[in-house]
């Protein structure tokens, strides 16, 4: 049994033992769920050439949450999840004796914290440990909610977060004001879906011929005085395109494909912040209540949890070039008959400060429509993207630097409403400025329309939900219809489809900003799914 599992049981057991004696079961709340999730990819054009029409997920989760209140002032929460992935990883005979290979799983500690009410002062609470914070008033799209990174490892779940250790202090000086301060010692990045690697992937066709390479965020406008041999202005992007087309023999001028070009071992590395005090995160919030109007002001100091392009180096060995030393940047066996390119990209997590405002208001005078809004003014760290191209270990163009993220403050926001029209019809609609992973880099900040409508039948036993997100700038979108049936008390059976609309290719292969938000392969696959869930 894994050490983490043993420790989880021990922690829970300690709480139980501590609470014994006085109707201990009354002090322990045990909740959780058991779920199965089976997904099938229903296309073959959003992955590697020809890949599709296969199972993508076969997952079982067991979530156990214990809340213990040994006294009125003290609470402890432990939530752990066992995840079984359902795919065999054994690829040789010895592995067939290893249950972990044949039936891989992991154990996650989602939350583990203690809470003390009235610490030193009856209006002061302390919370410490591993937890998930939920700031902001809007549904899911919360630009003021930055303490926990997002867990997008499941592309159908936008609400999951990565838990982190933190210390929280809450003050309740009045009944209409709550002050909160949180300190997070160590930064954790957001988890990305498996398709995220397509954002940096090199693509080949059915014959193994090169089709496209990742587009770096370099300037598409010429720098002052930057001209070509004919005296015409030329941008960094055009220089790179010219280098590529003239340097690499065998490129088809019409299709751009090249059967004599190979990118062995493309890497995307993350540049993590050091574990120093300066790289910890902190936030403060003042939450107000004024009748039906709740609003909050917040400030966050920390880092953006999604990766931002930082560097790229293309290390080229031409046909017939020396293979004894391999690449300059990494010794790798190369194909001497082809042009070999070792492409290493790096991403980083920029520092930022965020000043936020959020509100929620239920308009009793307007049929109880609920309005929510959030506004975050982000002061980012400037990120200069650097690119070099080497041939035979030497730079063949002037190294390029472009400002990928300018230091200019920018705004992300959400505004929306939700309303239950009748007992069987519900609507939630929002305008979102800036998706989760957007940080005013070369891709920019885009505008979105997000909506979900629910039709409920048989006293909410059957729910048909249709959700969608539309990028108003490039008109790509996703569509997420689901049918949920409460087959028995606490049992949900669900089926649905997740579909992405938009071109998979870049509008301009040399312009980073022309990527389709939901069309690009990095956004994920089109899947059909069935789920079963028991909750207690």
């Amino acid at each position: 049994m894994r050490i983490s599992t043993v420790m989880t049981i021990a922690v829970v057991g300690c709480f139980a033992v501590e609470a014994k004696g006085e109707e201990w079961w009354e002090k322990v709340e045990f909740t959780g769920f058991l779920s199965s999730d089976l997904r099938y990819i229903v296309e073959n054009w959003r992955g590697a050439y020809g890949d599709g029409y296969r199972f993508e997920m076969n997952r079982n989760d067991l979530d156990l949450r214990f809340k213990v209140e040994p006294s009125e002032r003290v609470k402890g929460v432990v939530e752990t999840r066992f995840r079984f992935f359902g795919f065999n990883n054994a690829s040789d005979i010895p592995s067939l004796s290893d249950r972990a290979k044949v039936d891989p799983f992991d154990v996650r500690l989602e939350e583990a914290y203690l809470e003390v009410h009235g610490l030193l002062w009856d209006k002061l609470d302390l919370k410490a440990g591993r937890m998930i914070q939920n700031w902001g008033a809007a549904d899911m799209f919360n630009p003021t909610d930055n303490l926990n990174s997002r867990d997008f490892s499941d592309p159908l779940d936008y609400s999951a977060k990565v838990p982190n250790q933190m210390i929280e202090i809450d003050l309740y000086p009045t009944d209409w004001l709550q002050l909160t301060a949180v300190w997070v010692p160590l930064f954790k990045p957001s988890m990305l879906p498996p398709s995220a690697s397509w954002g940096f992937a090199v693509e080949y066709d059915e014959n193994g011929c090169f089709m496209s390479a990742p587009t770096p965020p370099i300037d598409t406008e010429p720098h002052p005085g930057q001209v070509d041999e004919n005296g015409n202005p030329i941008s960094d992007a055009q220089i790179l395109g010219k280098l590529f087309s003239t340097m690499v023999p065998g490129t088809d001028p019409v299709t751009g494909r090249n059967c004599k070009l190979v990118f062995p071992k493309t890497e995307v590395r993350t540049v993590e912040p050091e574990w120093s005090l300066a790289n910890s995160q902190a936030a403060i919030r003042a939450k107000f209540r004024a009748g039906d109007f709740d609003f909050a002001l917040s400030y966050y100091y920390g880092r953006f949890s999604f990766p931002v392009a930082y560097t790229a180096i293309a290390d080229v060995v031409l046909p017939g070039g020396k293979s004894a030393t391999g690449f300059s940047t990494d010794p790798v066996t190369i194909d001497p008959k082809k042009t070999n390119v070792k492409y290493i990209a790096e991403v980083t997590y920029p520092r930022m400060q965020v000043v936020g405002f959020d509100f929620s208001y239920t308009a009793e005078w307007l049929y109880d429509v609920g309005f929510v809004g959030e506004l975050a003014v982000i002061f980012p760290e400037q990120i200069n993207f650097g690119l070099r191209a080497l041939v035979g270990g030497r730079d063949v163009i002037e190294p390029m630097r472009s400002i990928n993220v300018p230091s200019t403050p920018f705004v992300k926001a959400t505004a929306g409403f939700d309303y239950t029209f009748t007992s069987w019809l519900y609507l939630n609609a929002m305008y979102v400025r800036g998706f989760f992973d957007e940080f005013n880099d070369k891709y920019g900040i885009h505008n979105y329309f997000v909506a979900a409508t629910e039709l409920k039948f048989f006293e909410d036993e059957l729910v048909i939900r249709l959700a969608t997100a539309l990028n108003c700038d490039d008109l790509s979108a996703n569509l997420f219809p689901q049918i949920t049936w409460i087959a028995a008390p606490s049992v949900e059976l669900q089926t649905g489809l997740f579909w992405l609309f938009g071109p998979t290719e870049m509008g301009d292969p040399l312009d980073y900003s022309t990527r389709s938000k939901f069309g690009h392969k990095a956004a994920g696959r089109n899947v059909a799914f069935v789920k079963a869930k028991l909750t207690w």
Partner: protein, 300 residues
């Protein structure tokens, strides 16, 4: 107080910047710019620094100065434009044309055509090679190494006809039965067969030229497009009666006509410089096209 604290944080955050290019330079140190011959290779009057500010005069060809190693990879046409004096008297031009393949750190020349013209017709000495002979000569490539910087620097090239490669630096053989002799065109005759028009017949000969390619004028920025340089001659062993220097060494090993046993001396024309030239071509360019277009291509 809270307002001051807020301002303190904001001010502290101003000026945050991470530079990806500086990081790349730390991870993969660049060679010093002086080692890379951008300024020798590019005709540029404008210097553009990394901030994009112009610090020079009017723009010229290849405006981006700095650490650039121009790329020569690909297919080129090569011509050795040699000016000589037949019998040390009659001005002549020999254009030896090659298809050059540049890969890695060398140029590989494959012979395509020889064109000989005279300013004044000497009445004798006109000769030509047949297609089979040209093809045979083309099968043995001449290798020109590139410098560590990927460019042509002053280099010596020896090109032989009908001589075994291991004897290329030795005195030319005097008879057909010497080991140095190679029936390169595989016609059963020693050496290479040259057809002579006046007097009419065939000469079986061995031949050597030694060219000294001097660093030339190069045009193009990222990808080289044309190269031109002066050509000098460094005969290994020249006993002909040229007052100056012989342009080519040749010995006849046999002939269909005894009058053809003596090859006419070709001396270097000191008054007319000789050149080597290269022009960048597409991948699909071949010897057939070069034969048709070489005059236009090289403006000769």
């Amino acid at each position: 107080m809270r307002y001051c604290l807020f301002l303190a944080f904001v001010v502290y955050g101003c000026g945050w910047e991470s530079d990806g290019l500086a990081r790349l330079d730390d991870l993969y140190p660049r060679e010093i710019a002086a080692d890379i011959v951008a300024e020798e290779l590019l005709e540029t009057d404008t210097i553009v620094d990394q901030a994009g500010d112009v610090t020079g005069d009017e723009p010229g060809v290849g405006d981006i100065e700095g650490e650039i190693a121009p790329i020569m990879t690909g297919t080129w046409a090569f011509v050795a434009e040699q000016h000589g004096l037949l019998f040390d008297l009659y001005r002549m031009t020999i254009n030896d044309l090659f298809i050059a393949s540049v890969t890695g750190n060398q140029i590989s020349l494959s012979f395509c055509k020889q064109d000989v013209t005279f300013q004044d017709d000497p009445g004798v000495g006109n000769s030509y090679l047949d297609e089979k002979t040209v093809a045979s000569l083309g099968e043995t490539s001449i290798i020109i190494p590139l410098s560590n910087k990927g460019t042509i620097e002053e280099t010596t090239v020896i090109w032989t006809w009908g001589i075994n490669p291991e004897y290329k630096n030795c005195p030319l053989p005097a008879s057909a039965d010497e080991k140095a002799v190679w029936d390169q065109d595989e016609d059963g005759k020693p050496g290479v067969t040259v057809h002579v028009e006046d007097p009419k017949g065939d000469r079986y000969m061995v031949r050597r030229v030694e060219w000294r390619l001097e660093t030339g004028e190069q045009v193009g920025d990222i990808q080289m497009e044309s190269l031109d340089g002066t050509l000098q001659f460094e005969p290994v062993d020249c006993t002909d009666p040229c007052k100056t220097k012989c342009l080519v060494e040749q010995v006849a090993l046999g002939a269909t006509n005894s009058l053809l046993m003596t090859a006419a001396p070709i001396c270097v024309d000191q008054d007319t410089p000789s050149y080597w030239r290269m022009r960048k071509l597409s991948e699909s360019y071949d010897c057939k096209k070069l034969k048709e277009e070489w005059k236009t291509l090289f403006n000769l």
